[in-house]
């Protein structure tokens, strides 16, 4: 199926971190880079990294309580009420795009909402579609 994912062009990112601020504001009502569902690792030019979820769904099979599933649109999402906070998904995400904040045991991830894209003046992140086996 075709799934909306966050695309990236790492080389044109200006490391302003506006995307992370926008993301954490939407989901956690705070401007905290550590609470964003994507991560810009500074280190231009060669060390720079943009960590985003590819919606591959590997975390679905890792979760012992089936708290993670793919919704109708193909987006991988966490049902917090079912999560027992084991953080297996955080350790097993091949992109390391499943995040977790300090003493909070409920992980969080990108759901391709696009709020960060609106803030990216460089055009380094954008919404695109990817073919995913579901």
């Amino acid at each position: 199926m075709k799934v909306k994912i966050l695309g990236k062009k790492t080389d044109i990112c200006v490391e302003c971190h506006e995307c992370e601020r926008a993301c954490s504001t939407v989901f956690f009502k705070t401007e905290s880079l550590e609470r964003a569902r994507l991560r810009i690792t500074a280190g231009q030019p060669s060390g720079r990294k943009i960590t985003t979820c590819t919606q591959c769904g590997k975390c679905i099979n890792i979760c012992p309580t089936q708290a993670i599933s793919r919704n109708k649109a193909g987006i991988v999402a966490i049902d917090k009420s079912k999560c027992v906070g084991c953080l297996s998904c955080v350790g097993f995400c091949p992109e390391e795009a499943m995040f977790q904040y300090k003493d909070d045991t409920i992980p969080f991830k990108c759901i391709s909402c696009g709020q960060c894209v609106k803030k990216c003046k460089a055009g380094a992140i954008f919404l695109t579609e990817s073919e995913i086996e579901a």
Binding site: C86, V90, G91
Partner: protein, 737 residues
């Protein structure tokens, strides 16, 4: 096979439906009801434990004292302490005052670090007559803690079959007469889960404990602890295998224990420093993701990955531990099991265990016994089972191993003891010590898996030779000598038991340290105390007696610590950091030791270091040694292994490894084998090895602070802060003898 979606396996439906769940529930008679206010867990402890007397119906709550936490920590420590207070030196396993204690330990129940949901079960063992401890997964222990209890003590004996239900959400405990449920675990655990869950979705919140019909007729009964597998939509089983505690359970007429709680969160253990636990857990999850495929393959093969490694190193027990390898071992090698195990399921026996070694074979169609034709899930096999009921009995057929594995589990008998005692009976049969006349027609030749299975079914039915074999190797030896005129000395040499417990499945002949690792244990020869074979035999890292004694001090204590806290040993060294070989002491896996220090401090808010970690165990370990003394054991004579674990008992064994033994005689014993007959070499080798073992015992006792008879010195008890009057009295009395 790869499951990515929910599956409803037919085995859940294929059970015989003699009675509906409603009928079974209706037949329950409430014998006792008890209400309580569940204490919230604080820093790993609820501060309360549950006591149930099955004779009188008394149910009460006890307070966990600071002394209990400081000295005994939890888990196995709490179990031993309660058992000590419950029994006298005269108590036998089937006396009413014997208890079964289940305690998860302070770390148990965290979900972030793999292997953190274990329960420890303690009781007086029908096999050894002394304190037994067994470490088991499944959800019961953590759920019991989240329902308000750091331990449960089950004392007394019911006259009717009963189920005990702990309703953690509503603070209610009921003791219920339960006449209609099945006894065998793969059925009763399903039945109880369905009965006490409020909906299909709620089954995840129910955990059960049960045993089986063979536990009623043998002394090798085990307990099954369930965990609900959401993908398979079935209860899965993990075993508290060692020492016959399932036999105690059925002797008390317990049919099942059930706990239900919806209080299952990543923070339910209410730790002092959740962030530290998160960080430590994620680090290990990542390590497993990156390294497991390159290291132990636990996620795809479970512990069965060891089969060919053990055979290659001549450590896989074959024909009752006569030999250490067999060309047919490859028929049961890791790649065979990998194909049989359903892949792609998070097979952890507690949430968050990404080692995921609780593998299972789905859709197995049984070909024998009362469930013939049923399609079932088989939990395992683990390495110990493959080696025990497989190669040790000369059985190399994976289907036979699976079938025996399944029936051992559901009948409630320990696969390790069953394997070792069947192999012993087979060797006796091959030597004509017993014949078909004594076995009731069973041709117990090595490799006869049909006979092994029939023996198991007879144990479940309580019939003939099934009952005799089910007494375990030690009692079989006595029985064969008394009734069949067998030579007691030969039986002593080949009977793979020490302290009354059957050996677990490693050949220790070429590792002096492991001979001690087995026979110098508190509970009997079980590898969960020490596994030193590679350090000793392969890598030669502990060449001197002092080196070996140090290893036999450190490793049993380090591993004891898992049992105090409710942890699994496997994530300690079945995955290792990539740079571990370059660390200061690779065998200890220093980075993981640091993880455990962090887990303990993170949960309890205390500030231990790696040295205090060992001290914690040393207190409980010495306490358990004194417990053995109190029960009439625990001295040097009880620490002597059968010669089969030390060297070749028979000429056949010597000849099979002639080159090795000749070389050993020359290089280690300083005896020139040239010109000597095999019989002479065999005798000299035995004399030398038995002497070496005694020298090892001297060195280990010295290192452990025990006297030459293996009794802890008073200054050792004092220094550890466990010089309680009762302990001092026990030690003094024993020493005076």
């Amino acid at each position: 096979m790869n499951f990515t979606e929910n599956i409803k396996t037919e085995e859940c439906n294929s059970m015989e439906k003699k009675h509906s769940i409603q009928e079974m529930k209706k037949a329950h008679k409430i014998l006792k009801e008890f209400t309580y206010s569940p204490k919230k867990v604080n820093r790993g402890y609820c501060g309360e434990t549950l006591y149930v007397n099955l004779s009188t119906g008394e149910i009460k709550i006890k307070t966990v004292t600071d002394q209990m936490k400081d000295i005994f920590v939890g888990g196995r420590g709490f179990g031993l302490w309660y058992l000590w207070n419950a029994v006298s030196e005269k108590t036998k396993w089937d006396d009413a005052e014997n208890e079964i204690i289940i305690s998860p330990g302070p770390i148990s129940g965290i979900t972030q670090y793999p292997g953190s949901g274990k329960s420890l079960v303690v009781s007086l063992s029908p096999l050894t007559g002394s304190a037994m401890d067994s470490n088991v997964g499944g959800y019961f222990g953590p759920y019991m803690k989240f329902s308000g209890f750091d331990a449960i003590e089950l004392q007394g004996k019911s006259d009717k079959d009963v189920v005990l239900f702990i309703d953690g959400d509503n603070g209610k405990i009921t003791l219920e007469e339960a006449p209609l449920e099945d006894v065998n675990s793969h059925i009763i655990c399903e039945q109880l889960t369905e009965m006490y869950a409020t909906s299909d979705e709620d089954r995840l919140h129910v955990a059960t404990v049960a045993s089986g019909s063979a536990a009623e007729h043998t002394l090798i009964g085990h307990l099954n602890f369930s965990f609900y597998d959401k993908r398979r939509k079935c209860t899965r089983l993990k075993q508290a295998g060692r020492g016959g505690i399932g036999s105690v359970f059925r002797n008390k007429k317990l049919k099942g224990l059930v706990v239900r709680t919806t209080n299952i969160k990543g923070t339910s253990n209410n730790p002092a420093d959740q962030e530290l636990l998160n960080k430590t857990g994620i680090k290990l999850h990542k390590e497993i993701r990156k390294n497991d495929d390159k290291q132990c393959h636990m996620r795809t093969q479970g512990t069965a990955h060891l089969v060919e490694i053990m055979s290659d190193y001549d450590l896989l027990p074959v024909h009752n531990f006569k030999f250490g390898s067999h060309p047919d071992a490859k028929k049961m090698a890791s790649w065979v099991w990998e194909k049989r195990f359903t892949q792609g399921i998070p097979d952890g026996c507690w949430f968050g265990c990404t080692m995921a070694c609780a593998k299972a074979v789905d859709h197995y169609e049984l070909r024998t016994g009362p469930y013939k034709g049923h399609k079932v899930i088989i939990d395992g096999p683990e390495y110990e089972t493959v080696a025990g009921v497989g190669s040790c009995c000369g059985i190399f057929d994976p289907d036979a191993v699976l079938e025996i594995n399944f029936y051992c589990d559901t009948y409630g008998v320990d696969t390790i003891s069953f394997g070792t005692l069947t192999a012993f009976a087979m060797e006796c049969f091959e030597n004509k010590i017993i014949t078909e006349k004594e076995t009731g027609g069973l041709k117990l030749n090595f490799g006869n898996h049909d006979a092994a299975l029939e023996l198991l079914h007879r144990m479940a039915r309580g019939e003939g030779f099934g009952k005799i074999a089910g007494m375990g190797v030690r009692k079989m030896k006595q029985y064969f000598a008394e009734h069949f005129g067998a030579d007691p000395k030969f039986l002593r040499d080949i009977g793979m038991e020490c302290k009354g417990l059957e050996y677990s499945q490693y050949v220790s002949k070429e590792s002096l340290a492991q001979q001690g690792g087995y026979a110098l244990t508190n509970k009997g020869p079980q590898h969960d105390e020490a596994w030193l074979i590679f350090m000793d035999m392969v890598n030669n890292h502990i060449p001197t007696f002092e080196n070996k004694a140090e290893a036999l001090h450190y490793f049993p204590l380090f591993r004891t610590w898992f049992g105090l806290n409710g942890l699994c040993k496997l994530p300690w060294n079945d995955v290792e950091p990539e740079n571990n070989p370059k660390s200061s002491e690779p065998a200890k896996v220093p980075e993981h030791v640091e993880n455990y220090v962090n887990l303990f401090n993170g949960v309890t808010g205390k500030a231990i270091d790696k040295n205090e970690l060992i001290r914690m165990s040393e207190r409980v370990y010495n306490f358990q040694r004194v417990f053995n003394l109190r029960m009439g054991f625990g001295t040097r004579e009880h620490d002597i292994p059968p010669y089969r674990s030390v060297g070749p008992v028979t000429i056949e064994e010597y000849e099979s490894r002639k080159e090795r033994y000749d070389k050993y005689l020359k290089e280690k014993a300083g005896i020139n084998p040239e010109g000597l007959k095999t019989e002479e070499k065999h005798k000299k080798l035995r004399e030398f090895r038995e002497k070496q073992y005694q020298l090892l015992v001297d060195a280990v006792y010295k290192r452990r602070g025990w006297d030459e008879n293996g009794i802890p010195k008073l200054e050792t008890l004092k220094e550890l802060g466990i010089d309680f009057p009762q302990l001092v009295e026990t030690v003094n009395k024993k020493r005076a003898k």
